[in-house]
Symmetry: C2
Subunit: 116 residues, 2 copies
DNA sequence: ACGATCGTCAACCATTTGGTTGAATATGCT
DNA sequence: AGCATATTCAACCAAATGGTTGACGATCGT
């Protein structure tokens, strides 16, 4: 009954969560490591990660006692498409959009070289 | 001290507000007319519009006793760019993106034909 | 000047959010 | 077995959110 965009945008509305996503852009991380740079409890970060998971923006896989967090960038697609409905642009042709991105950046899928 | 993205994404997280934005895509509207299709008080809509205004997503101009609401799609740019930092796409060349959109849809700026 | 319309304000309310702490659970190490 | 580490759970809290209603100030039409 509730639009997934609700969860995605709500998840993105918090700066801590956006920072977490940016961190995960570089590499998958364990919950404890995600929490390390923040001045807030591990439990708080755990909640943030749960929210990101519910929004589909990350996935969490438990391996041993460590739970690994992985960015799921595809979850941003819906939101991105929605937003592109504004501006002067018409409802967007995603296939063409992807072709455009490919030709622009010549990037193989999943091949993002971390800059740090 | 607080990131404008906080306000933009928070504004977008509510389905009522997203619907309002979609309505304004077709045309500028008076507050009362924005409120009409919703089953909630005018005051509630007025608050939603205030939130959209604070996020920069719309502007409001009072002409006579009527306050006109106008979509400000540029406010989505920052959020859009932020999001495009994810996925497999690298930090995006917006100019190229716009050229792409132009060539795809061949649409004069502001010329959006409403489908309803 | 009067009444109707447009929109906001103020007070209130229930629910959600973002954080805390301490206990609990699950796994790994020796 | 026993202890340390990784993570969540539960209870709690303050503040923010999304809604209501009723009163209010502006402006329009007659």
């Amino acid at each position: 009954m509730s639009d997934p965009l609700d969860d995605v945008f709500a998840a993105l509305a918090d700066p801590t969560r956006r920072t977490i996503l940016a961190m995960l852009l570089e590499d998958d991380m364990a919950v404890t490591d995600v929490a390390e740079p923040f001045e807030m409890s591990l439990a708080a970060i755990s909640k943030h990660l749960a929210i990101l998971t519910r929004a589909g923006l990350i996935s969490q896989e438990k391996r041993g006692r460590v739970k690994w967090c992985k960015l799921e960038p595809d979850a941003l697609r819906g939101a991105s498409v929605w937003m592109q409905g504004f501006g002067q642009f018409e409802p967007v042709n995603l296939d063409a959009f992807e072709r455009f991105l490919e030709s622009e950046f010549n990037t193989a899928p999943g091949d993002h070289s971390p800059e740090a």
